[in-house]
Symmetry: C2
Subunit: 123 residues, 2 copies
Amino acid sequence: MNRRKTKSKRDVLEALKSKGSAMSHEMLEAVVEDYNRATIYRILNRFREEGIVHRIVGVNGKQYFAICTNCEKENHNHNHIHFQCNTCEKVECLNEELQINLPKGYVLEGFNGLVSGLCSNCS
Amino acid sequence: MNRRKTKSKRDVLEALKSKGSAMSHEMLEAVVEDYNRATIYRILNRFREEGIVHRIVGVNGKQYFAICTNCEKENHNHNHIHFQCNTCEKVECLNEELQINLPKGYVLEGFNGLVSGLCSNCS
DNA sequence: TTGTTATTGCGATAATGTTGCAATAATACA
DNA sequence: TGTATTATTGCAACATTATCGCAATAACAA
Ligand SMILES: [Mn+2]
Ligand SMILES: [Mn+2]
Ligand SMILES: [Zn+2]
Ligand SMILES: [Zn+2]
């Protein structure tokens, strides 16, 4: 399964990089040129498999995708909290790492921590 | 806007109480008698307004509702983390309270912290 | 018992995300 | 450079979750 470089992938990656904060499908659609809905989702999920981006689930239940920073190959640290603005919908990574203690017998596999409120632009 | 006591409300509340952990619409539908989808959602959102239940958004983007415990009227503490099992889909409240520091200019309004993994039954 | 209106059921609708399949195009290789 | 392979795309259909308008129903106050 060899990967191929395509314009759509470049466009999506470029959009995510230049935006800085996390983006939903909807946000991406507004920025990149007109690709099919399925194509964009497939690209995002592919990126996620490859460890290029990580996913945040918003309070609205929507998926947001953000470029991985501070992540090494094979060693991702996504235990940071995210912030979602209730007004402008922006989703960003906070630096806050946090430590989680689970009860006995529980196995941690993922973390999705989301603080919602007003960002500095909207407060 | 006076509230009225109905069988559907009693049933939903009873289901949530006896289950102990958070429930999705789907889970509720399987337990209570046959009410319309919209009715159940309206009841849940009503309960939320009244501060009887709180809502957790799962990693799957679905809504889960749990009875409020440790909450006083007008003073809810929902800054606790929740745990969702990737196998049996169960969602429960963890005792872990956590402290969140936001950057300057940010206003906190809500928190949805979700750890996913395997519960003690499924691990 | 009766009137008011909160609540419900029904149907339609919106939004998000995935999938199967045939067409297209990126890439390896002759 | 030309050709074959197959990863990727577009399209349409589908699944799921959740909300909403409206008319019918039923809780409850008087
Ligand atoms: Mn990462
Ligand atoms: Mn509460
Ligand atoms: Zn904002
Ligand atoms: Zn489990």
